[in-house]
Symmetry: C2
Subunit: 171 residues, 2 copies
């Protein structure tokens, strides 16, 4: 369905790609989504999102805060935490609990079930499509009479590039 040439795709996170375009495009979709929701993507919030979009990795709140402060915004923790909370609440970013960090959402407005794949070598973070995982999770929960409202599905392991490098080094 999706065309890698024109469409940002989950598989891109671990692959070489035109990330400037990838980030710019995702930001545009995030702005559209904010507009649709009537959520105000103010300067701090937009800047925070831009910072998260700079790479396919998760950033700690204090790291984001330093960047915001350098850009003339406040330099106290709530500045970062509030902007990040806004982004998460509006589906423009996700919290990666395993890393105590935040990552820009690559599919804003799509009502998706994100699965985070975290490379333990290069720290890259990919947001994989997790609909099937979520279905299995809902089923497992339903078996116990539990109703899932929010889920964190996070995996630590090796991305394709680092797995390849590891094999080469071992061989």
């Amino acid at each position: 369905m999706s065309n890698p040439e024109t469409d940002p795709d989950a598989t891109l996170a671990f692959a070489r790609h035109d990330h400037a375009h990838c980030a710019c495009d995702t930001l545009a979709r995030a702005e559209a989504e904010a507009l649709r929701r009537g959520a105000r993507l103010t300067p701090v919030r937009k800047r925070a999102l831009e910072i998260l979009l700079e790479a396919h990795r998760a950033m700690g709140a204090y790291e984001v805060l330093d960047r915001l402060a350098a850009d003339g915004f406040g330099n106290q923790p709530p500045v970062a935490y509030r902007a990040l909370e806004f982004l998460v609440d509006n589906g423009l970013a996700h919290r990666v609990r395993r890393l105590n960090a935040f990552a820009a959402c690559m599919h804003p407005g799509e009502d998706h079930a994100p699965v985070f794949l975290i490379c333990r070598v290069c720290d890259a973070v990919a947001e994989a499509p997790g609909a099937a995982v979520r279905v299995a999770l809902d089923q497992a929960a339903a078996d116990l009479g539990f109703a899932v409202e929010r889920a964190n599905i996070e995996a630590l392991g090796l991305c394709p590039a680092c797995a390849g490098a590891d094999q080469n080094a071992t061989a």
Copy 2:
């Protein structure tokens, strides 16, 4: 297969049950597993596990520490973190990242893929069997060439009891 009369089962976490027996039995299996692995379940470590086993919920490291200190063990953070790390490393407890907390493993020695179901009302934490979820996760990761080594699958929602109470209150 499993008989609820004799066998602690995942479904028990959210149900009324003889928890004294449940905890005692789980502790015995944990001790057996430690023995099998040649891991030394020393007094602090055993006491930490007992504390975690007191209820089907997750406890913060400092909460465990307070309990350990009251029992005459050290009262500095590393005391608790080391004991908990030992338990996690040896499969006798799990870390619940969403809560920055730890929970006793209900299936020590079974090589299982735990899924944590966290009730946002009563704070109960159930360790559900997650083999199917893990399979779906591995598949989603494999689609991107990612090899999963460790995973955290955690869901927040309503347990059966609290869902029932909620319905009653709303109605």
